[in-house]
C-alpha cells in the first residue's frame, strides 16, 4: 500500500478524492440516466444568440476535444509506449507543447467568449441556472490551471509523464500512489484536484450532454417509426400487454402538490 507512505492531506487529495469523485460521477451518471432523461440535454442557447456562439462554441468544443485527446496521449499512454514506437521524449514534448498550447488557446478563448456572451446578452443570461454558475466556475479553474500548466512546462521542467501520468494510471488500476503527486508543481496539483471535482460534478450539470454524442445517427434509418407509447432502445416492458414500458423521467411531486392546491384555492 503506497498510500501509507504519503501524508494525510496528500492521501485525502490524491487517493480518497479521486475515488469519491469517480463514485459520485459514475453513480450520478447511472442515477441521472435512470431518473432524469428529460433533463439530459445540452440546453442550447443558439436560438437566443447565435453570432458570438458561432465562433465561441465551435472554438471551445473542438478545443476541448483536442485537449481531451492530448490528455489521453500524455496521461493514459505510458512514456515507454510512445518511445517504443520511436517518439523520443524531446519530440513528444514539442508535440505536447505545440498541440497543448493551440488546443488550450482555443478552449480559453472559446470559454471566455461563451462567458462574455452569457453575461452580456440578457436572453442567454436568463437561461443560466445556479448549477450552471457552479459548473462554469469549476470548469473555468480547470481550464485556467490547465493552460497555465502547459505554459510553465514549456522548458520541460515538470516531467509530468513520470509523476502525474503514473499517478493517474495507479488510480485506474486501483493502486493509488499519492506520493507521486507530492513533489509536482502546484499548478499541476491544483489542476488535478479541480478536475476530480469536475468529474464529480459532471452528471449533475449541463456537462452531461457530452455523454450522448449521437454517433448512432450515422447508421440509423432516416425515418424513425415507433408504436404509440413505445420507446426505442429503452427498458423492456413490465406491464401486462408486453408493450414497451414507457416510464417517465419526472415523477410527480408530493412536495409541490400541496402548494398547487393551495394556489388553486386562492381567489384571484
Amino acid at each position: 500500500m503506497n498510500v501509507l507512505a504519503a501524508g494525510t492531506l496528500s492521501v485525502a487529495a490524491y487517493s480518497v478524492l479521486p475515488y469519491v469523485a469517480l463514485a459520485v460521477g459514475i453513480g450520478g451518471l447511472i442515477w441521472r440516466k435512470k431518473t432524469d432523461r428529460f433533463g439530459w440535454t445540452a440546453r442550447s442557447t443558439e436560438l437566443l444568440e447565435s453570432r458570438v456562439l458561432r465562433y465561441a462554441s465551435v472554438l471551445f468544443h473542438f478545443g476541448v476535444l483536442a485537449a481531451i485527446g492530448g490528455h489521453v496521449l500524455g496521461i493514459l499512454i505510458p512514456q515507454s509506449w510512445t518511445e517504443a514506437i520511436g517518439l523520443s521524449e524531446e519530440a513528444y514534448h514539442v508535440l505536447a507543447v505545440v498541440g497543448g498550447i493551440s488546443a488550450g488557446f482555443a478552449v480559453v478563448v472559446g470559454f471566455a467568449a461563451l462567458m462574455y456572451r452569457r453575461v452580456r446578452f440578457p436572453r442567454v443570461r436568463v437561461t443560466t441556472t445556479r448549477m450552471d454558475v457552479v459548473t462554469f466556475v469549476v470548469l473555468g479553474v480547470a481550464i485556467a490551471t490547465g493552460m497555465l500548466a502547459t505554459l510553465i512546462n514549456i522548458p520541460d521542467t515538470v516531467h509530468y509523464r513520470e509523476s502525474v501520468a503514473p499517478y493517474f494510471r495507479q488510480i485506474f488500476i486501483l493502486d493509488p500512489e499519492p506520493s507521486l503527486m507530492e513533489g509536482v508543481n502546484w499548478v499541476f496539483q491544483t489542476h488535478v484536484i479541480v478536475v476530480w471535482f469536475l468529474y464529480a460534478l459532471w452528471p449533475f450539470s449541463r456537462l452531461i450532454h457530452a455523454f450522448t454524442v449521437p454517433v448512432g445517427y450515422i447508421w440509423r434509418s432516416p425515418i424513425v417509426y415507433r408504436p404509440r407509447g413505445g420507446r426505442s432502445g429503452a427498458r423492456t416492458g413490465t406491464y401486462g400487454s408486453g408493450a414497451p414500458d414507457y416510464s417517465p423521467s419526472i415523477p410527480s411531486s408530493r412536495t409541490s402538490r400541496p402548494k398547487t392546491s393551495e394556489k388553486a384555492a386562492q381567489p384571484h
Partner: protein, 551 residues
C-alpha cells in the same frame, strides 16, 4: 405493399376568414408556457407575406427539407449525418428568436398603479424572455391583412418563380389566409434530421412527435423542417411541435384548431399509405410529379386487396371504414380539389389545402349565374385576382395544372348546384366538362359547402384494448408533460413576479401523474419521496428559471 394509417387534414382556404381562433385555442392548450411564448403550433399567415418565421419558405436560406443529389438520390438539403455531427456545436441553418419574434406582454399594472401625473400612464411592452422593455419591430402576424405589405410582401419567396409581372399595384392587391400547422409529413425531414432519434412517426396514425426524454437539444429538427414547424423550447432545451392534438385524436375528437374553426374549413381523416414506396415517391426526378407520386401512395381503401393487406398489417377494421369515409382521401385523391403545401420540399406533407376561389367569383360571377361556356370559365380562372401562378408556387411546385383543375371543379360544383338549388333543369355536362360525375359534385358540395361535423371529422378511436394495459393509463393527464402544459392566465408573464409560474401545470399532478412526453399518454409509478425538479441544473418545477428582477 406495407399499409399504414396516416392522419391527415384538409383546410379549405376558400372559407378562411383569418380570425386566428385556431391559433389562439392552440396556443392556450399547448404553448402557453415559459420557453414557448414565441411558439405557435398553429398560425395563420396572410399571403403574400414573409411568414413566420421570416422567409421560412426560402430554402436557399434555411436549407430545410430534402433534395436530390447528382445521382438522383434523396438527401437532406442541409447535409448528411456526418455534416450534421460536424456542425453540432453551431447549427448554421437555425433561425434566431428574432426571425420568429421576441415575445412580449405589457406592464398593465402601470396603468393603475402609477402616481398621479400630467401624463397618461403607458403600458410598455416587455419581453417575455428577458423582462426588458422592447422596441417592437416585428411580431406575430405583423403582416396580418397585408399590413406593411408595401415594404414586406415583395420578399415573399413565392414570387421568385413567377414569370409574369408581380401584381402588387393597389388596384391589383390580392391576399389569402394560410393557416399552418405541422404537416405530419409521410417523409418528414425533421425526423431524419434528428441525431438522437428522438423524433418519430407513430406507427398507428403517422403523427410526428418529439420524445421529450430522448431530445438532447441538437436542434437540427428545427432547421431541417422546411415549414419551420418544429420549435425550440429555450427553457427546457427541447424541441416541441404540433402533435395533432393526439390525446383528442385518440379519443376520436378533432384537433382543437379544427374543433374551434369558425369557418368550419378543416377536415380530418385517415388515409392508407403504402410505406414501402415512400422513398421512391419522394425521389421522383421532376418536382411537378411529386403530387401524383404522393397521391399514388394513398391507397384506395375500398380496394379489397388493400383492405386485406391492411388487416394483415394490423390496421383495425373500423380504421379501414374510417379510411373509406375519409374527407382527406376524397378531397385530395378522389376529387383532386385539395393540394399539399410546397410539395417541392419532398416531405410528402399531409396537411392539404383547397385553393381559394372567392376572388374568382367577382370576375366569374356572371359566368356562374348565366352559365357561360367552358372556355369562359377557363378565361375567368386566368383572370383571377390571385394569380394562379402564385397559388401554384405555394401548392403545386409551380405547376398550374393541378391548381386549375381544382378551381375548375369548384366552379363546376357551384354552377351545377345553382341549378339544383333553384330547381332549374340539371346540366350533367357541367360535371363531365370538369371530369366528374354529377353525384360526385353533389358529394363534393356536401363536403365543402354543407360541411357537417360528421363529414368533416372522420376520426377512428385508438384501440387501447389491444395496444396496452389500460390500467396503467389510469389517471394520466395527457397534456401535462415535463415542465407542465397550460400556465395560469393567458398573457401572464410566466417566470416574472410569479413565485410559481408552473402552478397551473401541476394542477393535474394532484391525481399523481404527469406525462413526460409530448408523445404518448405516459405511464408512471409515482414515487412520493422523489422530485427531480427541485434538484440539479434544470428547472421544470416550482422554482422559476430566473426571477424577473435580475433580467
Amino acid at each position: 405493399m406495407k399499409v399504414r394509417a396516416q392522419m391527415g387534414m384538409v383546410m379549405n382556404l376558400d372559407k378562411c376568414i383569418g380570425c386566428h381562433t385556431c391559433s389562439v385555442t392552440c396556443k392556450n392548450v399547448w404553448t402557453n408556457r415559459r420557453g414557448t411564448e414565441y411558439v405557435w403550433f398553429n398560425n395563420v399567415e396572410t399571403k403574400p407575406g414573409r411568414g413566420y418565421p421570416v422567409d421560412y419558405e426560402d430554402q436557399s436560406k434555411w436549407n430545410g427539407g430534402w433534395e436530390l443529389d447528382r445521382k438522383g438520390r434523396l438527401k437532406l438539403k442541409a447535409g448528411g449525418s456526418l455534416k450534421k455531427l460536424a456542425n453540432i456545436f453551431y447549427n448554421p441553418d437555425l433561425p434566431d428568436l428574432d426571425d420568429y419574434y421576441d415575445p412580449w406582454t405589457y406592464d398593465y399594472d402601470k396603468l393603475i398603479s402609477s402616481p398621479s401625473s400630467d401624463q397618461q400612464p403607458v403600458a410598455r411592452p416587455k419581453s417575455q424572455v428577458t423582462g426588458k422593455n422592447l422596441d417592437l419591430q416585428w411580431g406575430p402576424n405583423w403582416e396580418d391583412d397585408l399590413a406593411g405589405s408595401a415594404e414586406h410582401a415583395a420578399f415573399d419567396p413565392n414570387f421568385k418563380n413567377i414569370q409574369e409581372e408581380v401584381r402588387q399595384g393597389f388596384e391589383d392587391t390580392f391576399m389569402i389566409y394560410l393557416p399552418r400547422i405541422c404537416e405530419h409529413c409521410i417523409n418528414p425531414s425533421c425526423v431524419a434530421s434528428c441525431p438522437s432519434g428522438a423524433m418519430y412517426k407513430r406507427e398507428e396514425d403517422g403523427i410526428v412527435l418529439v420524445d421529450q426524454e430522448a431530445c438532447r437539444s441538437w436542434r437540427f429538427c428545427v432547421s431541417g423542417c422546411p415549414y419551420k414547424k418544429v420549435y425550440f423550447n429555450w427553457n427546457t432545451g427541447k424541441a416541441e411541435k404540433c402533435n395533432f392534438c393526439f390525446p383528442r385524436i385518440e379519443a376520436g375528437m378533432p384537433t382543437i384548431c379544427s374543433e374551434t374553426c369558425v369557418g368550419r374549413l378543416r377536415h380530418l381523416g385517415v388515409v392508407l399509405i403504402d410505406t414501402d414506396r415512400v422513398e421512391a415517391a419522394a425521389s421522383v426526378a421532376d418536382e411537378k410529379d411529386l403530387l401524383d407520386a404522393q397521391l399514388d401512395l394513398m391507397l384506395d381503401p375500398d380496394d379489397p386487396e388493400v383492405r386485406a393487406q391492411a388487416l394483415r398489417d394490423g390496421i383495425p377494421s373500423d380504421w379501414l371504414d374510417a379510411a373509406s369515409n375519409s374527407p382527406v382521401y376524397a378531397m385530395a385523391k378522389k376529387w383532386r380539389i385539395a393540394l399539399p403545401l410546397h410539395p417541392e420540399y419532398r416531405t410528402l406533407p399531409m396537411v392539404w389545402y383547397v385553393p381559394p376561389l372567392s376572388p374568382l367569383e367577382s370576375v366569374g360571377a356572371g359566368l356562374i349565374r348565366e352559365g357561360g361556356d367552358e372556355e369562359n370559365i377557363f378565361a375567368a380562372i386566368d383572370q383571377m385576382r390571385i394569380p394562379i401562378d402564385y397559388l401554384a408556387s405555394i401548392l403545386a411546385a409551380g405547376d398550374t395544372a393541378p391548381v386549375r383543375l381544382s378551381l375548375e371543379r369548384l366552379v363546376a360544383m357551384r354552377r351545377y348546384m345553382r341549378d339544383v338549388n333553384l330547381g332549374d333543369p340539371v346540366r350533367p355536362e357541367i360535371a363531365s366538362e370538369a371530369g366528374m360525375e354529377p353525384h360526385e359534385l353533389e358529394e363534393m358540395f356536401r363536403m365543402v359547402a354543407i360541411a357537417d361535423y360528421d363529414d368533416r371529422y372522420v376520426i377512428p378511436q385508438r384501440h387501447g384494448e389491444v395496444s396496452r394495459d389500460a390500467f396503467v393509463d389510469q389517471g394520466s393527464c395527457g397534456i401535462d408533460f415535463a415542465n407542465g402544459a397550460p400556465v395560469p392566465g393567458m398573457g401572464e408573464m410566466t417566470g416574472f413576479d410569479d413565485p410559481d409560474p408552473y402552478g397551473g401545470a401541476l394542477a393535474c399532478a394532484s391525481n399523481g401523474t404527469a406525462a413526460p412526453e409530448s408523445g404518448a399518454l405516459a405511464v408512471e409509478e409515482p414515487d412520493p419521496d422523489f422530485d427531480i425538479r427541485n434538484l440539479l441544473s434544470r428547472h421544470g418545477g416550482p422554482r422559476p428559471l430566473k426571477e424577473g428582477g435580475d433580467a
